[in-house]
């Protein structure tokens, strides 16, 4: 009789329900830890801002727009020491510069301003401005600033509008590639 009672106790302790509880707790902790430690560090917004700083620093010197910026063949990437591959082959970044006079007229010969990189990004930036959220859309940065330029021998005031965007996400190098 006593024996039977003990058996019942043991069965209760190691019952299937206890294993179920352990499994739920274990799987929960494993998922939470994996999610936490595999989280992506997203710096795309910051990178867009750095790109803006870099571009505005190189096209505006002492408050004046650099020489040749109004020309059709102005090479922005070369002027700012930016790598062509990441813009035009990898298509991970985007720059657009619009230059206006005081009256708001576009001063560039080419319509659309100076443009480099992935031309899909301005649309994605537009969607995000309207409040559309998408994880894989590029992150954008846009800023206007006043500048000076010389035209017809006179110093004039104008405005530049710089839009930069990044979708540079980095990649994990697998063991095989490492070998």
């Amino acid at each position: 009789m006593l024996n039977l009672k003990n058996k019942a106790g043991g069965e209760k302790l190691l019952s299937i329900w206890w294993f179920f509880v352990l499994t739920v707790v274990g799987v929960g902790i494993v998922i939470a830890v994996l999610m936490f430690y595999s989280a992506d560090v997203d710096i795309r917004e910051l990178e867009s801002e750095i790109l803006y700083e870099r571009v505005s620093d190189c096209i505006v010197q002492d408050g004046f727009l650099v020489e040749g910026i109004f020309n059709k063949d102005f090479d922005l990437l070369k002027q700012c020491n930016l790598n062509e591959k990441i813009f035009n082959e990898d298509k991970l970044l985007y720059i657009n510069i619009q230059i206006f006079d005081e009256a708001g007229n576009n001063l560039r010969e080419v319509e659309g301003g100076i443009e480099e990189g992935n031309s899909q990004f301005p649309r994605q930036c537009g969607f995000q401005e309207k409040g559309v959220e998408a994880k894989h859309y590029a992150k954008c940065f846009k800023k206007n600033s006043l500048v000076l330029y010389t035209a017809d021998g006179k110093i004039k005031q104008g405005k530049i509008e710089v839009l930069t965007a990044s979708n540079n996400q980095g990649r994990k190098i697998p063991f095989i590639e490492n070998e």
Binding site: L2, N6, K7, N168, G170, R171, K172, I173
Partner: protein
């Protein structure tokens, strides 16, 4: 005699399930603790953070600048994983920073600057030197 034997068997029958229950639980929770500890000191999150930090520093820097980055945690993790060299590489061709803190892989992140980049370790610091493109070749 018979009664005593019965009693002994009863006691062990009561004890074994309790012992097994405690051992199974201890095993389970120690496995969980080991898993969490291993993940916490895992290289992936640090590889990613360092690669992105270095790439941002390179993009932000101007020629003739030297930028130090405290790499002590990275070195500590790499040592724990048995890796002592090649923790950070600069792939000039693809313009990528590659950080490897264990032998099983690494993390790569592209930078957009077109300057020449050189790196070296000094104690726990990673020193990044930015030079005008082609300046190194011109010197040699």
């Amino acid at each position: 005699m018979a009664k005593g034997g019965f009693g002994k068997r009863g006691a062990s029958d009561l004890l074994y399930p309790v012992v097994i229950f405690i051992v199974v639980n201890l095993l389970f929770f120690s496995m969980l603790l080991i898993f969490v500890y291993r993940q916490q000191s895992g290289a992936l999150i640090y590889e990613q953070a360092y690669a992105k930090q270095i790439a941002m520093m390179i993009d932000y820097a101007k020629p003739e600048m030297g930028v130090p980055i405290n790499f002590s945690k990275g070195i500590e993790i790499a040592k724990k994983n048995g890796k002592t060299s090649g923790l950070v590489e600069i792939d000039d061709k693809n313009r990528e920073v590659i950080v490897k803190l264990d032998e099983r892989g690494g993390y790569a992140f592209k930078y957009f600057s077109d300057y020449d980049v050189k790196i070296e370790f000094a104690d726990n610091f990673l020193l990044i030197y930015i030079k005008e493109k082609g300046e190194e070749n011109a010197k040699s």
